[in-house]
Symmetry: C2
């Protein structure tokens, strides 16, 4: 008897509202602080940097549901709703009694979930009359998504791409250029922040923190230009909740509810997207779901970071964010999951972790590629190195369920495919990749001076 | 008022039968001939080369409907059914009254329609107890698809990849290797056919015809090994009809019927897949649909080739196929649409073209990249260089409809995405690409000695 593998929604199932988890949190995150005055930021303080509507969404702690503009929803129809898939091939290979589901966000035209927020951000900038936008990108997933969105809404876009990824993933740069964006390897000589770093550390291969500094600086010094960010911030998490809201409907179609929800973790955008809609049933006590953020062993802010006020960028241009952090001076190793090379977690996720609503695991690079290879062989999809962290965490959990004889229902987010990351796979199969760890001393050195929350 | 952009089917809408167009053709194609005896081939003659069930499908001219095995249909569920999309963005950019729809076969995990036949071929080989299979690939779309299918069914696979694409598209090679296939640049020194060419033309960058010779030779000289082909042959077209059968249901959902069906053309697999199911309503006179195969200006077998018996490969290992051909010695230019660099068309399509059921256009390379760029900007998807030929033909047609004020319904097949072809786009935007044409003398020189049908 054939069984459903995919659970497929129609266009009218695309959510009409985003879910703002802050409104339902029993204890809200501490506010961002103005680094000059030490005072809590209000939405208006962010207007110079972000489109005003995005600044208001960032600070909104009262409305649980935010209307999705029709223009954004129309553009979501290019690829949404995305399928929910029962990973029967992976289950069989593991011999686990667990039921494994994944939300396949890799079907977007740029290959990842990032487009969910890129469209919203470009839309609000355009609506406000902004002509130019800037951003940073790690592996290039966010940059590619924003390039497509900027092209659609007729915005000029400059992307600072972390240098190590610029060279590891030249095709992502090509994709951005095909959509009309200007791409600059970061650190660059085009900003003060970039020049400072390049004179102090001439061979520095960059980090998301540095690229953010450059993008922020360019936005602040260009007329009618706003900055956009692909993760970390509350409004980005908000836009990504379409993932979990769709998945909730699809789990209903499958007749199950997840015991465990898993996603990889860089700044938090895809984790928040799949987790927050399910979290609201944990707040009200109706469900006891376990949430697991899977981060790289080489960048373990959730599992080993300090809970402090820290800058979102390397140069210290951003507000102070209450975050689990490795310190904004932390230099992550050159792992191939470029989208996870970020020093901190957003304020919502950090607070949820501190208050015990979510868990985290850190995973060595080689384990992620091994998991990815098994997933490709059994489910047919070559995952992005970032998403492979979620797969590795899922496999660990499914094997524990096997050990315990537990029919656990696991849902993970496949945030993107790896077709643009094949050079990483080549290096893995050639035996050229390694694991990277971080010492406690290194973390302490980078976080001990940060302000307590 | 928001309108549907995509028309989405459920898993139980995946066809349960393939459509065999030969059964309904008013005049059947001439049979393939044994080159030694000059006699028509029967299925048994193909058993040494192909899995027996595939050989029987190849020769089946009586059964219009062939059951899809449950194991194949289960694997189709990894990504099928695929969406039908109304290209409203492209329509608007062209200012055309035409309604443009595309079937989005790019959503498969390997990025193209090729998986539809790869799964079927690997399945029938496995079922017969075959352990090793060989094939050729141009741009790598077919090779990637077969690698995934071979991995799923536990078959060893060797792929001869046309040398020009092997270097232009290294990521496709990586994808094949990730799925466990062995990939050899063709021409190679591993076969007699390869050695012969490499000694005569040391810098030859290869062609599909040469790669087929190598793959056939390896299959014939290896125990328990069969050869598989990604296009040209009748059984490949048969498997691809899931595309058109789904599209037919989806056009019904949209409340329209295509006036014009368009697909790019290399050996015929994606063209046949979308066209044949609609063609059956032209045979019985109930519909007057126009079918357009879009081929490269540099490889114009349908528009300018000779209708002759010719070999399917360069070395002359295959049966003689009644085809529209540029001659098996024809060396196509190094265009980036590697999947369209093939000298001949399959016997069914050739006969349909000769009998006036289908039309063809040939399109210069630069026009295809221009069309692809407009499509990426308006529909968000970066198309494969092959598929861009269908887009260019669609744009031509939509602009003619605008000129004539005609509300034509156009359906084209987006056979694949171009995320692995970004180096081609880089070269296009850098102004490094050119058009390539073929002289009548060149065609005549390569076809004048071929046997009349």
């Amino acid at each position: 008897m054939p069984q459903s593998k995919k659970f497929i929604l129609q266009e009218n199932d695309i959510p009409t509202q985003w879910y703002n988890v802050v409104a339902d949190m029993p204890v809200k995150p501490a506010p961002m602080l103005n680094p000059q005055t030490g005072k809590p930021m209000v939405a208006e303080d962010l207007y110079p940097l972000f489109a005003e509507e995005l600044a208001r969404q960032e600070m909104n702690s009262t409305d649980a549901w935010i209307e999705i503009p029709e223009e954004v929803r129309e553009m979501y129809k290019i690829w949404r709703p995305t399928p929910l898939v029962r990973a029967r091939g992976l289950e069989k290979a593991l011999g686990t009694p667990a039921h494994i589901y994944f939300k396949n966000e890799s079907v977007s035209p740029v290959g990842s979930h990032k487009l969910n927020s890129a469209i919203a951000q470009a839309y609000y900038c355009k609506k406000q009359g902004v002509t130019n936008i800037t951003t940073e990108t790690g592996a290039g997933q966010w940059g590619a998504a924003l390039s497509l969105a900027a092209k659609h809404f007729g915005l000029e876009l400059a992307v600072y791409m972390v240098k190590v990824s610029y060279h590891q993933k030249p095709y992502r740069r090509s994709i951005m250029q095909t959509y009309g964006a200007q791409v600059i390897a970061s650190p660059s000589m085009s900003t003060k922040a970039g020049r400072k770093i390049l004179t102090e550390r001439p061979n520095y291969q960059g980090s998301l923190g540095t690229a953010i500094s450059e993008a922020v600086e360019l936005a602040m010094s260009t007329p009618n230009c706003k900055y956009t960010l692909g993760s970390v911030l509350n409004h980005v998490s908000l836009h990504q909740t379409v993932i979990g809201l769709e998945a909730e409907k699809q789990m209903e179609m499958a007749g199950e509810y997840p015991d465990t929800v898993i996603a990889c973790f860089g700044g938090g955008s895809n984790f928040s997207g799949i987790a927050f809609p399910f979290l609201r049933h944990k707040f009200d006590g109706s469900r006891q779901t376990t949430f697991i953020a899977a981060e790289p062993e080489s960048c373990p802010k959730l599992t080993r970071g300090a809970f402090r006020y820290d800058f979102g960028d390397e140069a210290g241009y951003t507000p102070l964010i209450p975050m689990l952090t490795l310190g904004h001076d932390f230099s992550p190793s050159n792992i191939h999951a470029g989208g996870l090379r970020y020093h901190g977690a957003g304020s919502i996720v950090s607070k949820l972790k501190a208050d015990g609503y979510i868990d985290a695991v850190d995973i060595p690079q080689l384990e992620t590629f091994k998991a990815a290879s098994l997933f490709a062989a059994t489910e047919g999809i070559i995952p992005a190195p970032e998403s492979s962290h979620a797969i590795a965490a899922t496999i660990r959990r499914a094997l524990e369920a096997k050990e315990a004889g537990r029919e656990e229902v696991i849902l993970f987010n496949l945030s993107g495919h790896g077709l643009i990351d094949m050079a990483s796979y080549d290096r893995y199969f050639a035996g050229d990749l390694a694991n990277y760890s971080v010492t406690d001393d290194e973390i302490k050195a980078n976080t001990s001076n940060l302000q307590e929350i």
